[in-house]
Amino acid sequence: MTLSQARIFYRLISHHQHLHAHRHPMFEKNMFVKAFSYIFIGFWAVYLMMLGFFVYEMFSQSAIEAFDVVDGYMIFLLAIDFFLRFGMQETPAQDVHSYKLMPIPIRFLLDVFLVRMGLSIYNFFWFFFLLPFGLLAVVKFYGFVGLLSYLLGWWLLFVINSMWYLICRTFVNRNVYFLIVPILIYAALIYMGLFYDSSHAWLFDVGVWIGRLFVERNPLMYVITFALIVPLYAINRKLQYISVYTEISRKDRVHKYKSQHYALLNRLGTIGEYLKIEIRSIIRNSVVRKQFLSGFYCMLAFCIIFAFTGVYDDMPMMKIYICVYCFSCLSIMTLTVVLCAEGNYIDGLMARKESILSLLKAKYYFNCFMMIVPFLITLFPIVKGKLTIAEALGCAFFTSGVVMPFLFQLAAYNDSAINLNARITKSGRSTKTQIIFSSFALFLPMFIMYTMVTLLGEDIAAVCMISIGIIGTILHPLWLRNIYHRFMRRRYTIMDGFRNSR
C-alpha cells in the first residue's frame, strides 16, 4: 500500500467513524444524552480543575513537593483511568468487522484504529486536573517547558494505560471473569507498593522517580516510556487481529437444551408462562444474562458491605439508604431496559391480547422474588442488632412499592431493542428517559430517606416506609395496568423503535 493510499484510507475510516456516530438510529434520540454528557464532562472538568488547585494548596507547605505527592500516588490515577475506560472505549476488532471484505489490509485497519485510540482526546481528560495543578506546582521550579514535559510524560502514561486497557478489554469481551485480573493487579500493586511495608512505600518512590525524570526532561525516560508503548502496541495489534478472525470464524455452538418445565410456575397460569420466558431469557441470552449478573453481583456487593462491615454504622440515614440499595440495586440495573430484550419479538407478543400486561406482571413478580437474596443477607445485621426488622422490611417494601413502580414506567418509553446475543457488542446507549428514570430511582430514595429520617427519626421512618411500600405493592395490578395503557397509546412509536434498532 502506498503512502497516499494509506492517507486516503485513514481519512475515509475516520470519516466513517464520524458518520457511524451521527447516523446511528439512536442518534436523534440521543441528542439529550449528548447534551447530558457534555454537561457531565463540564462538571468533571470544573471539579478536576478545582481538585488541582486544592491538591496543590494541601501539599504546598509539605516537606516534599506537591507534584512529587501526585506522582507518588500515580497508581491511583492510572487505576481510575483504567476502569473509567470500560464505559468509554471499545476494541478496534468491533470496528474492523465492517471492513473485513473490503480490499484494505486488516492489519492496516488495526493500525488506523490503534493510532486513533492513542491520539484519542480521552487521553487528555486528566489534563483538567494536571494542567492547573502543574501550573502551580511545576512551573515555579521548572518553568513552562518543565510543565510541558511533565504533561507529555503523563500523556504517554495514559497512552500506555489505554493500550493495557485494550488488552484486558479484549479478554473481558470473551469472558467477563477476566475483569478480575486487572482488579487483582491494581489491588496487589497498591497494597504491596504502598501499604505492605509502612516504612518503605516503594511504589510511591517509583512514582516520584518517574515524575522527576519527566519534569527534568530526561530523554532516557521518554525513550523507556515510548519503548513500553511499542510492545504493547504490537501485542494489541496481534491480539486484535486474532480477535477479528475469532469473531468472524466463530460458529455458534448449537447447545442441546433439555427443557426445564418449571412445573411450579404452571400453577400461576398465563403469568407463569411469562415468568418462564423471563427465566429462560436470562439463562439463554448472553446479553440479558450479563445484565442480570452485573445487577446481581452489585446487589451482593452492597449486601456484603452493608452486612459484614461497619462502614455505615454511624450514619443512620446512609444505613437505611444503603439498605434500600441492597434491595433495589438489581431492579435499577435490569428494569432500566425493561422490555428492550422483548423488543426483538415484540410483534409476536403484540399479536396476542394483553400479553405485554402479563409480561410486566411476570417481571414484577420476578424482581420481587429476587429480593429474597438481600433479605436473607440482611438477617445478619438484624441478628447483630445493626438493623431492625422493621427497617429491613421497610426497605424491601419501599423497593417493591415505590422504586419498582417508578422504574416500570420505562416500559411505556423504552423503544430500543437490545441484541440478545451480540457477538460483537458496543457500549449500550441510554435514552433520555432511561437516564432520567434511573437517576431518579438512584436519588429519590435518598431524598425520601433523608426527609423521613430527619423529620421523624429512624423508627417512625421505617414504619412509614413499610406503609408506603405495602400500599404501592398491593396496588401493583392498578399501576401496572396504567403503564400498560400508556404503552398501548404509544405502541406504534415503541414498535417502530424496536424494529429500527434490532
Partner: protein, 245 residues
Amino acid sequence: MNLTIENITKRFGDKEVLNINRYDIHSGEIIGLLGNNGAGKTTLFRILLDLLHADSGTTTIHGILPDGSHVSFDTARSEDWKRYTGAFIDSGFLIDFLTPEEYFSFIAKVNNIDSQTLSQRLKLFEGFMNGEVLGRNVLIRNLSMGNQQKVGIIGAMLNNPQLLILDEPFNFLDPSSQLAMKYLLENYNKETGATIIVSSHNLTHTFDICTRATLLEHGRILKDYQKDYATLTTEIEEYFKWNAF
C-alpha cells in the same frame, strides 16, 4: 371472518406506501396478495395486525363465530380480535431462545389450549415439520431459516384462528415443505372455513391455493382477480413480465 379495509393510507416520509380506498375480504376466502418489492404487502399486513399506525382509515374484522355470535372489531381500537387471528410475518414473531416445543407450549397456554389438545394439533403438522422441528432439543434460533419459518407458521395456526395472515409463507421452505404448506392451507381453509391471506412472490403456489388474488403496485390495488386460473396466470404473469423488461 370478514375483513374490511376503508380509506387506509400510509406514508413513510414523502413516499406514499399504501393507499386503499376500500377492500373487502369475505369469510372463507383464500387471498393471494401479489406484487413486487415495495408494493405495500407487508405494510398492509402490519396495519391489519395493528403493528403499524395507518395515517388514515380503518380496518375492521367482523363476522360470525363458530358459536353463532356476531362480532365486529376495529383492529386499532380493540384487542379482542387477536383471539381469532393468527399471523406470521417475520422473525419478530418468534421467541427464538425457546425450543419449538417450549414455544408451542407457550402459545398453547396463553390461548388456553391444554397439553392434550396441543399434542393433537401438532400431529396435524407432522408432515409439514418432516421430523426436523420437534424432539431436537435445539433453540429456534439454531434451526435453519426454513424450519424457523415452519415454527412461525405452526405457531400462528395453533389456536385455530378464524383469520390467518401469512407473509411469504413459502420463503425458505424446501420443495416438499412448500407442497405440504399448500396442502395444509387448503385443508385448513376447507375444515375450518377460516379466511386466509397470504402474500407471496411464488406465483404458481399462490395461484394453486388462492380463491382470489389481489395485485398491489406502489401501495395501491391494481387489480382484484376472482379465481379463474386462465385469467390469473395470463394477466398476472404478463404484468410481472412487463415490469421485468
